[in-house]
Amino acid sequence: MNSKPELEKKIQQVLDSLDGIQRAEPRPFFYTRVLGRLQADEKTIWETMGSFLSRPVVAVAGLCVILILNGFILFQQEKESGIATPIVNSNEIVTDNEYILASSSSFEYENMDQQ
């Protein structure tokens, strides 16, 4: 292969070495391994989702969103029901007065007993 024609001949032989090449085949039970890969990939999606949700940033952000939503809903409810002002019921006042009277009368009764 010292001469140029010999070298060219060799190169041409190398370039033609793929002529008549047969198709390579994978190892047997290829489909079973593809199925295994499919199932493994499905598991990975859930695992990825789990690990994504358990990240501190995501968890804190999720908590903030929930708190903001809660605040918003409360705010909306209050807005819908109008301004909540304390309405004093006259019956309640009476009851309170009665209670005060009752208690004072019981105090007097006890005092009388001691005397």
């Binding site: 292969m1 190398v14 070495s17 090449i21 085949e25 489909y31």
Partner: protein, 194 residues
């Protein structure tokens, strides 16, 4: 079974259709991947990934091209991705080794022997595959699809989504580059001889 019926059945989630698709095209996909990555384990990995992708994204196959063309495209894309990942890993391993960290040593594989090559051409084809590896990406894909997978220029152009004249040009440049590399290879061998 007809290709279109198989695709329609797979779109409806029919597992038997998926099995038929895998068994019909597994050799084609594996052979293409093997031609590009030149490693049986990696080729098997890519072939599996290709069929997983087919299962998940069959809905996006509109039937504008042949199913086999679509499969070739996925396989080539996966094989190139795989190579990029491997190169990145190799580079990262090198950087880590500079800083003295333990890392997996990526050893350059020995000359690739394609199992489909005729016995008396094994040695020459190994030299050729080594030279193909050094070609620019587009030339390498065109040459491999034409020479290893036996696709016509028209089919290669459909897979690569380019014109036939572009494929002809890629093939011409690939052959010129290969000749140069082979010349260097054999001249180097002659120099090394005592």
């Amino acid at each position: 079974m007809d290709e279109r019926i198989l695709v329609e059945k797979l779109k409806q989630g029919d597992e038997t259709a998926f099995k038929t698709i895998v068994e019909t095209w597994q050799n084609m996909v594996y052979n293409t991947a093997l031609g590009i990555v030149q490693n049986p384990e990696d080729a098997e990995d890519i072939a599996q990934e290709t069929f997983v992708q087919v299962y998940h994204s069959i809905g996006s196959f509109k039937g504008e091209s042949k199913f086999s063309t679509w499969l070739y495209r996925i396989t080539v894309a996966k094989a190139l991705d795989h190579e990029r990942r491997k190169k990145r890993k190799k580079r990262f391993g090198f950087v880590r080794s500079i800083f003295g960290e333990d890392s997996e040593v990526v050893v350059n594989p020995p000359d690739f022997q394609h199992p489909g090559v005729v016995l008396d051409k094994k040695e020459e084809s190994a030299v050729l595959f080594n030279a193909i590896k050094q070609l620019p990406e587009n030339q390498r894909i065109a040459f491999t699809l034409h020479k290893v997978d036996g696709l016509s220029y028209q089919e290669v152009s459909e897979v690569m989504q380019t014109s036939v004249s572009s494929v002809e040009s890629l093939m011409h440049r690939a052959k010129t580059n290969l000749k140069k590399r082979l010349e260097q290879h054999y001249k180097g061998l002659l120099k090394d001889q005592p």
